[in-house]
Every structure is written in C-alpha cells, then in structure tokens.
C-alpha cells in the first residue's frame, strides 16, 4: 500500500457484536453471533469488537464471549477486539486470545462515578493495571482507551475540553497504545469534533485513536466527516445502527456502518468494505435478533443507479 493510498483509506471498526448486542434486551444465540461475524468479515470488515468481558450476571448477552473470540480468531487478517472494564476482564480476554482490548474511560466525572463507581483517576489506574498485565503476558496485544462522554454528558451537561485531553494523555501515560474520543450521548457537533481531535493529536500524536460517534441528534455522519477532515482514519460504527445507548435504542445510537461506508466510498475514500455484501450482512443480524429494529438509510433507499465501489 502506498503512502498516498493509506492517506485516502479509513478503517471501519465494527462495534455491533459488542455495543449493539449489549444494548438490546434479547440475547443472540452463539451460532447466530458467529454467522453474523462471518458475514461482517466476508463484507471486508477487518476490525470487529466481538464482545465484552464482563460478569455474565451483569450482561447475560456476553456469556459466550470467549467462544465468540475463539471463532473470530480463525478469520485471517481480522483484528479481534473486546471491551474490558477492568483488570479482571482483561485477564479473561487475554486468555481467550484477543488482538486488541478496549477500555471505556469516562471524561465526565459524574458519568464515571455513576457508570463504574470509580473516579476518572481510579480508571486511569485500572488502565495502568491492564497495561502492566498485557506487558507481562501478551505484549503484542494492543490496548485502546476510549474516552467516553468526550463531547458532553447527560448527567453533568458540558464536559470541559481540557479534562478530555488531560484524561486521554493520562491513559497513554498509563500504557494505552491509543486513545479515541466517544460521543456517548450524541451531543457532539462538527466544530467541536474538529477542535477536540486537533487538540488530541497535538497532545498525544500518533496515539490519537478512533472517532466513536452516535447519531442521536442526526449529526453522526457529519461528525465522522469532520473527524476525517481533522485526520482521523479509524471510525467505530454499528451495522444497522444497533445499540449505542440503551435508553434510546436503534436510530438514536451508533452511527450506521452502511451509511458511513456509503459516504466514504462515494467520496473515493477506501474502506475495504464491499457495500453490497455489507447490506447482505444485515440478514444474519435480523435472523438472530427477530423483531429488533435495524436502521440504515442506504439499505432502505438502495444504492444509486450506476454506483460502483471506488476501490
């Protein structure tokens, strides 16, 4: 891959099997999860967050996560990612053999306490403990700290930008390889996205990670565009917009992978994803979660006449 083509390519990190499935009431059967992940892989997705390593009594949807990871590891070239809230989860995830860990660290002091009953400083120490464990037993595994509520919070409203950037830097200092920014509650606007990713890059350079945007107020795709224009090249999204926010399911949650891929490919920016096959990957999702609403404007409208993938 030449430097020019890398410049014009993005990585779509599919979070549906984790973020989506843990936001819905139903539990998808293991076999259905594997079919769905196979279809996502067949469409060309090369980074998938396949589950969370959390106690099964808290999230029964994730009880089979080690099995799902083992299957995903058989797909060549796929980066198998899992969410871990703490050192204990990381231990299980590393034992299962994941390639990449992601830890949510909330920039909102109020959200951090409400969500994980820890201060932000305590979460940074959890990142440090996970990094130390990783260094000891699986040094090749990547560790991402996703800064949650980076653009605002339903509990405290405004989240000071200085605190967001400080927290991301603290996570890198604690041993995370990447720190991305998440619009957990859909408050972000494109000007804020550009400002914060610019500051993030100035502060932590190549450690600046993914944009994780929500479409709660309709700006998800525009915020991804703004992040792209600011140099971000990894984007989290969810097939069918599944998940993202348990209190406002579906359309209000994660950016829809299909629409995001449509935007980038239409602009001539390669995602490596075949949009027709991606739309096909909705079938196993819907079959595994009967009755659950699945969103996406591009799948509903169909591809433009004469539309061709750019790559």
């Amino acid at each position: 891959m030449t430097s020019l083509s890398r410049e014009n390519a993005v990585l779509i990190s599919e979070v549906g099997p984790r973020d989506g499935l843990q936001s819905v009431a139903a539990t998808m059967a293991t076999a259905d999860k594997l079919s769905w992940i196979n279809a996502l892989y067949a469409a060309g997705l090369r980074e998938i967050e396949v589950g969370s390593f959390v106690p099964a009594k808290l999230l029964p949807q994730m009880e089979d996560v080690a099995t799902v990871v083992r299957h995903a590891l058989t797909l060549p070239g796929l980066t198998v990612m899992a969410l871990v809230p703490n050192r204990r989860g990381a231990e299980a995830a590393l034992e299962a053999g994941v390639h990449k860990l992601t830890m949510p660290v909330s920039a909102s002091a109020a959200h951090s306490l409400a969500n994980v009953r820890k201060t932000r400083e305590a979460m940074v120490e959890e990142v440090r403990a996970v990094a130390t464990l990783r260094d000891a037993i699986a040094p090749q595994v990547l560790l991402e700290a996703g800064i949650a509520t980076a653009f605002g919070c339903t509990l405290q409203g405004c989240v000071p930008e200085d605190e967001v950037i400080w927290l991301a830097a603290q996570c890198i200092e604690a041993g995370a390889d990447e720190s991305g920014l998440s619009d957990t509650v859909g408050y972000a606007n494109p000007a804020q996205v550009r400002r914060l990713f610019k500051r993030l890059r100035a502060e932590i350079g190549v450690h600046a990670g993914a944009a994780h945007m929500h479409n709660t107020r309709g700006l998800g795709i525009a915020n991804c565009l703004a992040a792209y224009e600011e140099g971000v090249r990894t984007f989290d999204s969810s097939l069918g917009g599944l998940g993202g926010c348990p209190y406002a399911p579906g359309a209000s949650g994660n950016v829809v992978t299909e629409d995001l891929v449509f935007m980038f490919e239409s602009m001539g920016i390669s995602t490596g994803v075949d949009l027709e096959k991606l739309i096909d990957a909705r079938q196993p999702l819907m079959a595994g979660l009967l009755g659950e609403p699945v969103y996406g404007m591009t799948p509903d409208a169909g591809l433009p006449k004469g539309w061709k993938q750019q790559h």
Copy 2:
C-alpha cells in the same frame, strides 16, 4: 449586522409548505397551512417556500396557494417564496405578490424530459421568459433557478459536472438572480458537494445560491456541512423532513430543518431560528396532516442538557 457576524450566519430556507405538502397524498386545509406558517415564522424562519403555482388539477394540494401567499405577506420581514414551473405560473405568483420565485431546472437530460417534457435548453428559455416578465411587471422580485438532479439522477445515473455548471451559468445568463444546486434523489456525497459548489462559485460568483440536500442515504446533514465549508450560506430544508421525494417519503426526503438548525447552532453558527420554538412548530404540521410520519432525530432525542442557543 457586522461582516463577521454575517460570515458566521446562515439562512435556512424552509421548503416544507411547498416541497413537503406536494409530496404527500393528503391535502392540508388552508387554515392549517396558515397556522403552520405562523409557527415557522414565530420560530424565526425568514424565508419560506409557501407553495407552488401549478394547475390545481395536477396538484390539488396547492389550489389555495394565492391565499397562502397573501397571508404570508402579512408577516414582517419574511421572504415569501413560491415555486413556478413556467411563465404562466410566474404570472400568477407575481400577481399574488411573492418576493421570490424559484424554478426547478434539471441538469439531467433524461429527468428534464421525463419531468417537464422539455429539454434543458427549453427550460433555460422558460427561465428567460419568466425573467423578462419579472423585469416588466415586478423588477424587485428575485428569481432563483434551482438546478435539480445536480448530483445524479435515478434515470440516467451520473450527471456530468460540466453540464451542471453550464446549466447554472445559462440560467444566470437568462436572467435568474441565483442558481443553487439540488440533490433531488439523494446521491450526493460531501466531496462532490464541495467540488460542485466550488466550481459553481468560480463560474457564477455571487449568483451561486442555496444547497438543497436530501437525506435519502443518510448524508444530508454531512452534505450541508460540506456545502457550508465551501462557502454556501443558504440551505433548504423541511420541518420534520416532510417531502422531498414522492417515491420515498419522509425520512428519505428533505434534510430535517430541526437537525440542521441543531447542527449550525451547536457549532456557533447563527440561524436566527429558536430551536425550541421550531420543535413546537411540528404541532400544527402534525395537526394539519394527521397520521403523516414526521421525522427528526433532535426532536425525538430532545436537546442536550444545558444546551443554549448560540445567538
């Protein structure tokens, strides 16, 4: 208004009472139209496309357009706009007293023939006839030519960019004051939007007009952002996303005014529109079109905690 504040302000041109109402099967009663327009005006909208001057047998929803125009003219500071397909419609619109005429001129040769049974060249002559009439009887009235299918067409697929720019220039040469670009079928992507508006401005300078984007494939708001970044300051949109495409109603049609205003105001770009009052303006719309789906992510999700208008 200082030059700096003008730089950071946009004009939202509400097209719902025309584009929305002519796309739905039901006919809104005249009194309901007036209540709705009053509510849009109360929210701060200062340009409203209130109807079409077309034969009532073709569009019975627009039979009362002259009455609607007369009412709208009583609202101080409102630019009252109407669509006219031809000289005959323009005559009636000028007689009713509109401030601004808009004529759709399709850049797709196939769409032009299918839609108005005229070549593009014949439509330019229609623009010339309307401009001549306007010059003779109401020289203060503005004439906009909206270049339809400027970003692609469901009949012919690709619409060559050279032909779009050529057509816009022809319309200005024929006497239109402004020529904007419409993504009639929702094919546009942000890179194309930037490219075409840049060329439009290079070709016709200050005569470059509004961006009229659709959300058919989820990119409507991102395309408005791209147009803004290219210097566009007038945006067409529709309350509740009403209309835009009779073959794919609702969410597939016009950009939702509420979400567009939320984006700009969140970015600190003044629209002059009070978002809470704008959301209130959905009530008379829904009351006047019982059962018609009304869209909008921002109204569904509610405003962010602590959110304040920027102006």
